[in-house]
């Protein structure tokens, strides 16, 4: 029997592959980043991570008991992700960017679009759409986080986890999250919610790719 998770994987596979095969992403995987571009990458990432829990909270606050299992999943997930923007700040500190500079940083229009869409979708489209954001970002972290970490470490000659603690730890940690997310996705039954999750996943893959293109 086909589950929603495999439906989601199949329906969004093209978007995932387009992210994976965009020339900028390929270039980063192959050659890593200069220190300047890595700083910009982390600054963008800081604003992704900062808005992750508020977006989940906005979605959870709009979920009826029909989707209680998703809402409870989000509570747990937010607890696990709480404070992770500090990890990005620590990595930024290693590459010479102060917390004040990170907070004052103006995200690219691509990132504003990404965060804006996720808030809008949770508010106006369907609160379960947030699972599309969670899925796309966890795929990026758990599937591509490893190669990205290796590429950046090699190009910047970083030692151990210094300066890459956020992406290297999420490459491993999000593997467990992915298994938990699959269980929750398979409990989503109504078509409106499923359609919104698929749309959100496709948008998040697309837009995260645009963010990487602009750094």
């Amino acid at each position: 029997m086909s589950t929603f998770f495999i439906e989601l994987v199949g329906l969004t596979d093209e978007a995932r592959r387009e992210f994976e095969t965009s020339s900028k992403v390929l270039d980063i995987v192959a050659n890593g980043l200069t220190i300047e571009r890595y700083r910009r990458f982390l600054l963008e990432l800081y604003h992704v991570v900062w808005h992750f829990n508020p977006t989940c909270a906005a979605a959870a606050s709009r979920m009826s008991d029909q989707h209680r299992v998703v809402r409870y999943f989000l509570y747990d997930h937010m607890t696990e992700e709480k404070g992770h923007e500090e990890w990005v700040l620590n990595d930024l500190g290693v590459v010479g960017v102060s917390p004040q500079a990170a907070q004052a940083y103006r995200p690219t229009v691509a990132l504003l679009g990404l965060n804006g869409y996720n808030y809008w979708s949770a508010d106006r489209r369907h609160p379960c759409s947030v699972l599309g954001m969670v899925y796309a970002l966890e795929v990026v972290a758990s599937v591509y986080g490893g190669p990205l970490t290796s590429a950046i470490t090699d190009s910047l000659l970083l030692e151990g986890d210094r300066g890459i603690s956020f992406i290297s730890s999420h490459a491993t940690m999000d593997a467990e999250h992915m298994a938990e997310l699959r269980v929750i996705l398979n409990q989503v039954e109504d078509d409106d919610a499923k359609n919104a999750i698929v749309e959100s996943t496709i948008f998040n893959f697309h837009q995260f790719g645009r963010v990487l293109e602009l750094i």
Binding site: V9, D13, R17, L26, N31, S142, Y144, P147
Partner: protein
Amino acid sequence: MNEVVNGLVPSALSRPYRYVKLEWNADFAMLTVRMGVRPIQCYSLAAMAELQQVFTDITAHPGLVRHFVMASDVPGVFNFGGDLSLFVLLVRAHDLDSLRLYARRCIDLVWWWENAATLGVHTTALVQGDALGGGLESALLHHTVICERGAQAGFPEVLFNLFPGMGGWNLAIRRGGFTVANDLILSGQIYTADQLFRRGLVDIVVEDGEAPQALERMVHAMEPRFRGTMAALQARRVAAPISHDMLLTIVDHWAVTAMSLNTRDMRLMERLARAQVRKVGGANEGAVEEIKRMELDTAWGFERTGVSEWATLE
């Protein structure tokens, strides 16, 4: 009504494909399918769906296609097999059912190739570049394998604790015998075109760039004895049978094995993928060279130091 004009694909087969290009030779009723999944040529879900559609259309119009040719539209690469990122995604999601579903879709394709002779279709693989894992499996599926001398191929799966699950064992045994299959699959070694020929795994080796001419010569020579050849190939299936049940049993075992891949195994897969990405970007060395480095390290690094670089990956 189907056109039979050279170059113009009959309308019964023509569709707006994205990952496969169809070419038609009306003189021999020969359909060439050029797969082009860029930048890394592999069996992605979308490419597999398109290939399945091509097979469905051929099956629905008996007699229209007499020769099926599988080729690559990506220079230097025939096919690198499965979509490694999709594997990693499903393994990390602990999703055995979905991995099994993907694997069974592969077997659907394998089964069409295996039955092509009963449809009156002779199949040829035009290997003009490297073939790894599922890419090599798909080449060995064809009745005739024409390989250019610069191409290299192998089953590297054992290096990351997996094995070729989509017919690799059956096809290697059928073509080269048990000893050759053992070496090919259990060593993880990469073979040159000449080494593959000496082991009976490919039928014809030609110089680089000469595979299309070799194909034409072969098809031309086969023409007067086409019916007899097809009958013999059907009989060959009886003599050396590969059953659907056998393929499904092995692929289910493959999916269960894939679920036990650990972080080190997946790092190795990622490393191969990254090497190939670098090659696409202009570097001299890709996945094949990375595998060779792993072989050397296993053979000599461990010999000298007791530790292999690959063994220490976590």
